[in-house]
């Protein structure tokens, strides 16, 4: 088996979310999702569109980390000033982000933790574009720390993104754009393929058990079958592309100690 790190396994698993998406804007926020979008475009899905992280569309994904300012080659233009018109509100986008919390309905939170709207205990970024993203286009998530603090019991503290919670859906609204795809964590890959969109374990990273995933999740999980497959990892060609997209090895800092994807025996 090819030797790779947990971060590289996560990049590879995240990149699969962008397969067969068609000509849409693939947005990965944070090193792992961004490398995943780039890897998808360079390997199986060249039709994907993406930006340089600023305002230009590029056909050659821009490497992450320090580089010179003008070394991106712009093929198109998609500034924030037309992002909603072109990508978000037309549904031509798949974003992969890391919210602070997610719940069993796929509702996500980036706004605040604890307290109230008027006096939050911990103020975070604000909802940003989550409400619009989640009602209009595909979304996937990467959680580098899969715990009950991130995959929470009950509901998230402030619902910043639409999920599959019938109780929160105003009658008569059009929710046909809600499309939550994949959740990649440090332990496993999940989707919403269980009964009534229940979150479901579709693969386990090497050495991880379903029980360990369940213990670290704040709500009951479904499983894809009696036997849950092991998450597929990158081959030598994919690893070379990841290295090309991350020349400064930013990915080594994603997980403490940059562990191998294969756990050492306890």
């Amino acid at each position: 088996m090819t030797d790779y790190t947990l971060a590289e396994l996560c990049v590879f698993a995240c990149s699969e979310a962008f397969r067969n998406n068609g000509e849409i804007v693939a947005t990965g926020v944070g090193p792992v999702p961004r490398l995943a979008a780039g890897l998808a475009k360079l390997s199986h899905s060249p039709e994907l569109m993406m930006t340089d992280g600023e305002a230009y569309l590029v056909e050659q994904p821009v490497p992450i980390g320090p580089r010179s300012y003008d070394d991106r080659k712009a093929a198109g233009y998609l500034p924030f000033s037309r992002f909603f018109d072109s990508a978000v509100w037309t549904g031509r986008r798949h974003a992969m982000v890391t919210p602070t919390q997610i719940d069993r309905f796929g509702q996500i939170n980036l706004s605040y933790l604890g307290g109230t709207y008027d006096k939050p205990k911990t103020q975070m970024l604000g909802v940003r574009g989550f409400p619009g993203n989640t009602i209009y286009h595909a979304n996937s998530f990467f959680f580098p720390s899969h715990t009950q603090r991130t995959l929470v019991p009950g509901e998230v503290d402030m619902i910043s993104g639409v999920g599959y919670n019938p109780a929160r859906r105003v009658a008569g609204g059009n929710y046909s754009g809600v499309d939550l795809r994949v959740i990649v964590t440090n332990l496993c890959v999940l989707d919403f393929g269980g009964p009534d969109h229940q979150m479901r374990v579709v693969s386990l990273h090497p050495g991880v058990s379903f029980d360990e995933v369940q213990e670290n999740t704040g709500f009951p999980l479904a499983r894809i079958g009696e036997d849950i497959p092991t998450t597929a990892g990158p081959d030598a060609a994919a690893l070379a592309l990841i290295a090309q997209l991350d020349p400064h090895n930013v990915r080594a800092g994603v997980f403490k100690g940059n562990p191998s994807a294969i756990r050492e025996a306890a």
Partner: protein, 295 residues
Amino acid sequence: MPATLDKRMSAQEMVATLRDGMTVGIGGWGPRRKPMALVREILRSDVKDLTIVAYGGADVGMLCAAGKVKKLVFAFVSLDAIPLEPWFRKAREAGGLEVMELDEGMFQWGLKAAAFGLPFLPTRVGLGTDLAELGGLKTVQSPYADSETLIAMPALKLDVAFIHANRSDWRGNVHLFGADTYYDEWFAKAAAKTFVSCEELVDRMEDHYPGDAQYNVFERCFVSGVVEMPGGAHPSSMPPAYGWDMKAFKAYADAAKDPGDWSAVADRFVGASESAYLEQIGGKEAVAALPLPIF
């Protein structure tokens, strides 16, 4: 030119038009293209109880820290590399700041409603989240066969907007460069009065830069006053002229740590005057030398 078309005024004169309780829009996005020199001028004034409407960065953090803000309309407040704006965070966690939290797209939709003189514009965005209930947003029903229920995003009408442009002439013919001008155009159109600071002010744009007219992102009928303030976006970025000053942002963020008393540190980040501020940070040459950020 007729005297009325000469829109030159000082930053102090611009800020002197503000009254307590007004709704003020601030252009730019997070740590980018912020009219910080004009924000500093507000901080040097006595005006208070403002409703601030902004894609927030240090502009929002400073105004909150200084107690100028009664209500904040926002989708995020962030300095990018320093994701959580520390002074905004303190103000929120202390309570007492009224807020209307919006999605980034709803926010620009509200500016567009104001620009077109509409009471609201319909959108799906916000349905299924906490925004509608917490923000008091109402719904409307489509009168057509689909009968779809939609959020009625209220117009974000601004009394005044402040924008930092790359260039202007005396009449308010602006040029906005940079890879992205965000929603500056819509802040200008949503406001009863828009005041523009700029890196370079010329008498007649057509005599100097006739080839750059496509950078006139919004027309001069939306400009009430102009002032030349090179380095006026510092510490935010103003491409292609200069990048953000992450060292300055870091010092500003560090100053929010215990005890984090704004009145004790405000002088470092505001200064007694804009020239004093610029001198403090090494002059406009030091600002011009800041490299553009890489994403």
